[in-house]
Amino acid sequence: MKNGPGRSGLIMDEPLLWEKGKKGRNGMSIPESDVPAAKIADEICGAGPDFPDLSEVEVVRHYTRLSQWNFGVDTGMYPLGSCTMKYNPKINEKQAAAEEISGAHPLLDDEYCQGTLRIIYELQNFLAEITGLDAVSVQPAAGAHGELAGMLIFDAYHRSKGQKRTKILMPDTAHGTNPASAALCGYKPVPIQSGPKGILDVEQIRELMDEETAGIMITNPNTLGLFEENIGEIAEIVHEKGGLVYGDGANMNAVMGIVDLKKCGVDVLHLNLHKTFSTPHGGGGPGAGPVCVVGKLKKYLPSPRVEFDGANYRQEESPDSIGRMHGFHGNYGVLVRALSYILSMGAENLKKVSQYAVLNASYIKVKLKDYLHLAYDRPCMHEAVFSDKNQHKDNVNTLDIAKRLMDCGYHPPTIYFPLVVPGAIMIEPTETESLEEIDAFIDVVKNIVNEAKSDPELLRSSPNRFKVKRLDETQAARNPCLCG
C-alpha cells in the first residue's frame, strides 16, 4: 500500500442543525411537572432562544454523520508533532464515567467526598514522582493554563523578595502559549535564538539574564525534538541572577523515568495530561495542565490542594497561594483518566513509553532524512522536525505535502511550527504506533516526495478524498461568518 490506507467510501452529507427539524419535535425526555406552576414577573421573562426542534433519531444521525467527516487516533496514525496523539485507552473513559465520580458535586464537605479527593491526592503524588519535582497542583485546565499558573508563581516569588521583574527569557523555539502566558503576567519576552545545534547556548543566556529578568521558559525536549543539553548550566546562570526556570513539560512523553526535571534545575513545570498521559484530545480539549514545583515554591501553588493527614483527605488553602485558577478542581474528569493510565502502566511501562516514543521518532528520522530535509541532524527525542526545503525546486510546499498525506489516510504532522524552521514538518509518532504502521507511513511519505517531482500538481490540488476540497481560509478571515 505505497499510497497508504486512504480510500474513498460512502459518507453522508448533512445540513446545519437549524436547516433541519420542525417545531414541536423533541430529542430528549422532559419530566412532567409534579408541582404547581408558579407566578413569574413578565419583566424578567424572555422569549427563549430560536433553537430548532429535532427528534432523537434526527440528533443521533446528525452527529453520526458529522463524525464520519472526522479523523481520530482510532481511525489511524496521527503524528501531530508536539501533541502526542497516542492511543486513548477505553478503560479510562469507563473510570471517569462511573456515577459516583461523574455525579460528585464539587462543593461537598470533605468528609462526604473522600474518594474524589483521594484521586486528586494520588495524582498529585504520582506526577511529583514522575517529574522529580516536589509538589503539584492539578487545577490548571490545560497546558497554557499551567504556564499561566507558573508565571503567576514567578511573580509571587519575586514579589516575596520585594521585586517586580519585567522581563523573561523566551527561546525562539517556544510554543506560542509561552510568551502569551508570560505576557499575561506583564513579562516582556526577551527572544533567545537557538544555537547552531538547535538548542540554547549558554553564552547568550549569560549575556541576557539580569536582575530585571524573572527567569526563563524552557521546553525540554524542545520543539525541535532535541534535548536542551545545557539546561543545567543555564539554570545555574538564571538562579545566580535570582531568576527562576520554567519548564514546559508538553514533551514529557520523551523522558519519563529518564530525566529528573529537578536535577535539570527546573523550578516550575507544567504537564499536559492530554498528551503524555493518554487522555483524549476531544477535538481540542478538554486537557489538563498540572503545575509542578520545587519545595520552596510549594506555598505559591494554586489553592485548594489536597492533603492527607493519615486518616482523611482534606482540601487545603495556602495563604501565600497565587489563588484559584479554576472554578473548582480543574478538569477533574481528565485527572481521573490520567490516574487510570498511570495505574495501568506502572513505573516500568511509563519508562518504556518514553523509550519507545524516542525509538519510533529516531527510526522515522533516519528513514526519512534522505527524502525530507532534516532541520537538525542530531539525536532526536520523541519527534523529528523536517522541512519542505528539498521540495522548493518542485514548487511544492509543506501544506501541499500535508494535504496529500490526508488523502493517503494519515493525519498530517504539525506544520509550520516551530517557527525557526521555515516550512517545518514536525513528526511525532508516539509509542503506540507499531513498526508496521511506521514503515507504512514512511513509505507513503517517500512516495509523496517522489510525487512532488513526478506530479507536483497532484499535491497542490490535494486533498481529493474528502467531503470538501481545499478550503479557503483567507476568505474565512477576510469576511468572517461566525454565526449561522
Binding site: 408541582v35 481540542g284 511501562n349 519507545y356 490526508m406
Partner: protein
C-alpha cells in the same frame, strides 16, 4: 503491555536501522546531571480488572452517592443527561481527534463547533460566541481583560460581590500581577447588585455582573446596562446557569457587551467540578478582541460550504505575546456536548425545562417560608435561592443527609454574617416528594 506494540524483535530491527545498540544510545544527549537516577516509585502496573477493583474501592469512599438528592448548585447543576449524548459524543472520530487545524479532515468537529457558536449566540443574545474557554470562572477573568483591551488606556474594572465567590477569586488571581485595579460592588437588601456607587467611579473599563447571580437572584440587566454605559464602561454579564435563558431575558438583549459563563448544565455531568465549559460571546464590533478559537464558514476550491478555524491572528500561535489570550487547548468535546444537548432539547424543550426548574424551585421556596424559614432576598430567582434559618440548621441538614438528601450549601465561609444562611438549588431532577421531605424536616 497492551498499549505498547513493540516486540523485542521490532526493537532490535529498529536499533539496527538507527545504528544503535540499545536505548541508552538514544538518550546520549541527556547529561548525567539531568538523569533520573533511581526508578520511579509508583504502584505496580494493574490489569484492567485490578484497576476496576482499585477504582471501585475509591468510589466506595464517597459518602454522598448517586443515591442522594443534592440540592446544591452554586456553579454545578444536576440536570438529566440523555443517554444519546455519551453515545454520540463518545464516537472516537470526535473524541480522539485534536484541534481542527486541518479543516478538510475535521469538518465534523468544525461544523459541530460552528453550530455550537450559533446556538450559543442565540441563547445569550450576542452577535458572536467563541468555541469555548476553560470554564465560567476563567471566562469571566478573560472577559474583564477583554474589556480593558477594548477600552485601551483605562486601568480599572468593577465586579459585583454577588458574583460566584470562586469566580471572583479567579479574577483576582488573573489580575494579581497586573497593574489593573478591581473594585467590588456591594449587593442590596434584595440580593441584587448595588450600582449606586458606579456614577462616582472613573477610569472603569468594564463592569461585571452575574445573572442569575450567586444568590440565584435575577439582576436587573437593562438598568445595569444603562448605568454602566453611562460611565463609558463595557457591560460584562456572567452566568453559571445557562438554562435560565430558556425562561429569562438573555443578557445580550438587555445590553450586555460581553457575556461569559459556565455551560456545564448543558449535558455535562458535575464530575466534581470539571470538565465544564466556558461560554463566551460579545457584540460583533469587539470580535477582534475576543479570546479563544472561532470557527467560520467558508468555501472550498469548488465553492462547497465548509468550516475552518479563523481570525487566528488573535491567537497565541500567531500573535504570541500580543495574543488576546494564552488559551490553546480549550474544552473541545464539552463544547460539542453542549451543542448536542441544545439540539436535543430544542427551543420548545429548553423553554419547558427552564420553566420546570423555576416552578420546582419556587415550590421549595414557598414551602420553606411556610415552614418558618426566611427567604433572604425578595427579588425573583431562577432555580437557586438563599434561605436563612432562625435556629441552627446543621442538625436538620444531618437528618436529611441520612435520608439521602443534601440540603443546601452553607454560605458562612463565603460571606461574613451569613452563618445561618444556605443556598438551595432545585432542578428538574428533584422530585416533589424530596422537596416535601426537606420542608417537613424544617418544620419539625
Amino acid at each position: 503491555m497492551r498499549y505498547l506494540p513493540h516486540t523485542d524483535e521490532d526493537i532490535r530491527n529498529m536499533f539496527d536501522a538507527i545504528g544503535v545498540k540499545g536505548f541508552d544510545e538514544l538518550f546520549t544527549t541527556v547529561p548525567d546531571s539531568c538523569r533520573y537516577d533511581k526508578e520511579m516509585i509508583l504502584p505496580v502496573a494493574k490489569t484492567e480488572w485490578d484497576l476496576n477493583t482499585y477504582m471501585a474501592e475509591i468510589r466506595s469512599m464517597m459518602r454522598v452517592t448517586p443515591a442522594h438528592s443534592v440540592l446544591i448548585g452554586a456553579g454545578r447543576y444536576h440536570h438529566h443527561i440523555p443517554s444519546t449524548i455519551p453515545s454520540i459524543m463518545g464516537r472516537s472520530e470526535f473524541l480522539t481527534a485534536y484541534t481542527p487545524y486541518q479543516p478538510e479532515m475535521a469538518q465534523g468537529t468544525l461544523q459541530g463547533l460552528f453550530e455550537y457558536q450559533t446556538l450559543t449566540a442565540r441563547l445569550l443574545g450576542v452577535d458572536v460566541a467563541n468555541a469555548s474557554m476553560y470554564d465560567g470562572a476563567s471566562a469571566l477573568a478573560e472577559g474583564l481583560l477583554m474589556g480593558l483591551r477594548v477600552a485601551k488606556k483605562k486601568t480599572r474594572v468593577a465586579m459585583s460581590s454577588a458574583i460566584h465567590p470562586h469566580y471572583r477569586e479567579v479574577v483576582r488571581t488573573y489580575f494579581k500581577p497586573t497593574a489593573f485595579e478591581i473594585i467590588e460592588l456591594p449587593f442590596l437588601e434584595n440580593g441584587r447588585t448595588d450600582l449606586s456607587g458606579l456614577a462616582d467611579l472613573e477610569d472603569v473599563a468594564a463592569v461585571a455582573i452575574q445573572s442569575p447571580n450567586f444568590f440565584g437572584v435575577v439582576e436587573e440587566l437593562e438598568m445595569a446596562a444603562e448605568a454602566i454605559h453611562q460611565i463609558g464602561a463595557l457591560f460584562v454579564t456572567g452566568f453559571t446557569e445557562p438554562l435560565a435563558f430558556g425562561l429569562l431575558k438573555n443578557p445580550g438583549s438587555a445590553g450586555a457587551d460581553i457575556v461569559c459563563g459556565e455551560g456545564q448544565s448543558f449535558g455535562m455531568p458535575k464530575s466534581f467540578g470539571g470538565p465544564g465549559l466556558g461560554m463566551f460571546g460579545s457584540k460583533q464590533k469587539y470580535v477582534r478582541n475576543l479570546p479563544g478559537r472561532l470557527v467560520g464558514e467558508t468555501t472550498d476550491l469548488e465553492g462547497n460550504r465548509g468550516y475552518v478555524l479563523t481570525l487566528a491572528t488573535r491567537e497565541q500561535h500567531i500573535r504570541r505575546e500580543k495574543a488576546t489570550s494564552n488559551i490553546c487547548s480549550n474544552q473541545g468535546i464539552c463544547t460539542l456536548t453542549a451543542a448536542m444537548y441544545m439540539a436535543s432539547l430544542g427551543g420548545t424543550g429548553l423553554r419547558k425545562l427552564a420553566r420546570l426548574n423555576y416552578d420546582k424551585s419556587e415550590y421549595l421556596k414557598e414551602g420553606l417560608q411556610d415552614a418558618g424559614a426566611i427567604i433572604l432576598f425578595s427579588s425573583p430567582t431562577f432555580n437557586e435561592f438563599v434561605v436563612e434559618f432562625r435556629d441552627d440548621f446543621t442538625p436538620v441538614q444531618k437528618r436529611l443527609i441520612e435520608q439521602n438528601i443534601v440540603a443546601g450549601l452553607h454560605l458562612g465561609k463565603y460571606y461574613p454574617g451569613f452563618e445561618n444562611r444556605y443556598l438551595f438549588c432545585v432542578t428538574e431532577t428533584a422530585s416533589k416528594s424530596v422537596l416535601d421531605r426537606v420542608i417537613s424536616e424544617v418544620q419539625k
